[in-house]
């Protein structure tokens, strides 16, 4: 219809800010970082190309390898703990308990706060002497030790504890929404068949929540890669470099150690797992469209 053809330009003009954001701030900036990762840039970006030398240097760098290791340990623990705790909270709340609204509020409020703020509280509660350790000792258990936050081997688990505290409420909220979408007839039928409740949840309901679980998993994975605030607030990467993570490594080399080339190589490396995660989603999406 010709009437519908008028001002075809306006929608394009209206989407100009989005186009600029995508082309300049996302694609342009990512390509720029990719290019810089092959240069010898120090304080300022330079065009002195040195091939893959920055990547070689990066994977020779103890601190980077340690931060990758920390991220792996953190990622596995954080995702498993969040999923399990989030699902348990949702399943238990779903048992028609009283005070449901209150419990939901309590489990989700940490997510509303900045990790810079909450990380400081955890830092203090975990500090040896003052926090939990001191409190238990003053109860008479004088040999009680809880000094993970200053222990090189265990410090990363303190960040897991705080991060699970912050994020599992979100998992709970999304899982609970999924549970409420499950047909109540299923519970009735299972009860008639005499199947215990825990098996109903584990073997019937959980598989039905597949899409929710997948979404939650994707969200948690991206949160893992972005881990930065919690480390800055709780340990500053310490003791020493024991709780260093890639995002912090990159920030430090960009702004404190003026090694932009190395930082860019790190950023590109960090991009790979994200793209590897997104690819199956993009694939599933395009397939569904064609179907």
């Amino acid at each position: 219809m010709p009437a519908f053809r008028v001002n075809k330009v306006t929608p394009h003009i209206a989407l100009l800010p989005m186009a600029l954001t995508v082309l300049v701030a996302y694609i342009g900036a990512a390509l720029w970082t990719f290019k810089t990762s092959f240069t010898a840039s120090r304080t300022f970006a330079s065009d002195n190309f040195i091939g893959a030398a920055q990547y070689v240097r990066l994977f020779d760098n103890e601190r980077w390898l340690l931060s990758l290791h920390n991220l792996a340990v953190y990622g596995v623990c954080f995702i498993i703990a969040c999923m399990v705790l989030g699902f348990l909270l949702a399943a238990f709340i779903d048992q028609n308990v009283s005070g449901e609204g209150f419990l939901r509020t309590v489990f989700l409020y940490p997510y509303a706060m900045s990790f810079i703020a909450t990380g400081l509280v955890w830092q203090w509660m975990l500090a040896p002497g003052a926090g939990i350790e001191g409190a238990v000792q003053s109860l008479g258990f004088t040999s009680f030790r809880f000094d993970w936050i200053i222990d090189q081997e265990l410090v990363i688990y303190t960040i897991v504890i705080a991060a699970v505290w912050q994020a599992s409420g979100l998992v709970m909220a999304m899982m609970l929404a999924g549970l409420r979408g499950v047909d109540p007839e299923i519970y009735k039928a299972a009860r008639l068949d005499g199947i215990p409740a825990w098996r109903v949840y584990l073997q019937i309901v959980l598989p039905m929540l597949g899409p929710t679980v997948a979404t939650v998993f994707l969200l948690l994975c991206t949160a893992v890669v972005k881990l930065y605030d919690a480390v800055v607030a709780m340990t500053g990467g310490g003791p020493g470099t024991a709780s260093e993570v890639p995002a912090k490594f990159i920030m430090d080399h960009l702004f404190l150690r003026s090694n932009i080339g190395l930082a860019s190589a790190g950023a590109v490396t960090l991009l790979i797992p994200v793209l590897a995660l997104l690819a199956p989603y993009a694939y599933a999406r395009s397939r569904r469209k064609r179907a």
């Binding site: 009437a3 306006t10 209206a14 989407l15 800010p17 989005m18 186009a19 995508v22 701030a25 996302y26 900036a29 990512a30 720029w32 810089t36 970006a45 709340i93 048992q95 028609n96 419990l103 509020t105 309590v106 489990f107 409020y109 997510y111 509303a112 706060m113 900045s114 810079i116 703020a117 909450t118 400081l120 955890w122 203090w124 509660m125 939990i132 505290w165 979100l170 409420r180 979408g181 519970y187 409740a197 979404t215 994707l218 969200l219 890669v225 930065y228 605030d229 500053g236 995002a247 920030m251 960009l254 950023a267 960090l270 991009l271 995660l277 989603y281 993009a282 999406r285 569904r288 469209k289």
Partner: protein, 296 residues
């Protein structure tokens, strides 16, 4: 309908709970309550410690138990804390207001154009934009610094607002696109036949019926911007540093005795705005959080 993995799950809890059993206090139910009760303790403990510590004097903190209630409550730590972070508070307000209004407006325009006008290539652009929400900011941060330094705005209020516009755009666009996807297309067709143009239909038909999603978007954006640390640290500059950056400076870079009571009061002050939004907005917050979880 949206077909992205990011789509907000329908966040309604008010449908009938799955298990409508008779309530009796069987061992299983005691177990349920015991689990939920201990979980609630774990979740509330940090907030409790924050609040009680902020009312204690340093002497009491040194001598007493971290979980004990204050014997002599004092508001002096609060006054001290406010002196240290009040500048950051107003900076955060100055950053958050434009960083909420502009992304919402742009998100609404994007969502409207994507849902009803479908210009050529727009969906591909949107796909890339969404993927951008998952990419760590470290990948984009230095080029953005360089561009802004070139444009002469680096380390200023416009710089930090622009960065929040850029990184808020995926979620804001997604929210409005999904919302408009549920609006009957006949409504749009009717407005077109009545001779409405792009902006007229947006301003007079779509925007007035977008209030619910605007509320959700505002809650998410205010919370996200207020809680941001890394972008404020890099782009805002010393004079505009948001509250989170100042809080971290106050606490993690001070040498000498740590004033835990002042620190905790400052922490509560920093968390107060998003916490208040959370406690007052309830389910709106949950709706937004489900779609906005991509951030952070």
């Amino acid at each position: 309908m949206s077909d992205t993995a990011l789509q907000a799950a329908p966040m309604t809890f008010d449908t009938a709970p799955a298990a409508r059993r008779k309530r009796r206090l069987s061992p299983a139910r005691i177990g349920v309550y015991a689990f939920l009760f201990s979980a609630a303790l774990y979740f509330l403990l940090p907030l409790y410690v924050m609040i009680i510590t902020s009312f204690k004097s340093m002497d009491e903190i040194r001598s007493g138990n971290v979980f004990a209630l204050p014997l002599f409550a004092t508001v002096e730590p609060w006054q001290n804390a406010w002196r240290q972070v009040s500048g950051g508070f107003w900076n955060s307000v100055a950053i958050t207001v434009p960083s909420t209004i502009i992304p919402i407006l742009l998100g609404a325009i994007n969502g409207y154009a994507l849902s009803f006008w479908k210009p050529r290539g727009a969906n591909l652009l949107f796909g890339v934009l969404l993927a951008g929400a998952f990419i760590p900011v470290q990948v984009m941060i230095y080029p953005l610094v360089w561009m802004m330094a070139r444009a002469g705005v680096f380390g200023s209020l416009p710089a930090i607002v622009l960065v929040h516009v850029i990184f808020g755009m995926p979620i804001m666009t997604l929210l409005f696109r999904n919302y408009y996807a549920s609006v009957p297309h006949e409504l749009f067709q009717a407005a077109r036949i009545d001779g409405g143009g792009f902006w007229r239909i947006f301003g007079q038909v779509m925007l007035p019926m977008s209030l619910p999603i605007i509320v959700v978007a505002a809650i998410m954006q205010v919370t996200g911007v207020w809680n941001d640390y890394i972008l404020g640290l890099v782009f805002a500059g010393r004079d505009n540093a948001p509250m989170t950056v100042q809080l971290n400076n106050v606490i993690n870079t001070t040498t000498g005795t740590r004033l835990y009571n002042v620190n905790m009061a400052a922490t509560i002050l920093t968390a107060a705005v998003p916490l208040a939004i959370y406690f007052f907005s309830g389910r709106w917050f949950v709706r937004g959080i489900a779609a906005g979880a991509v951030k952070g």
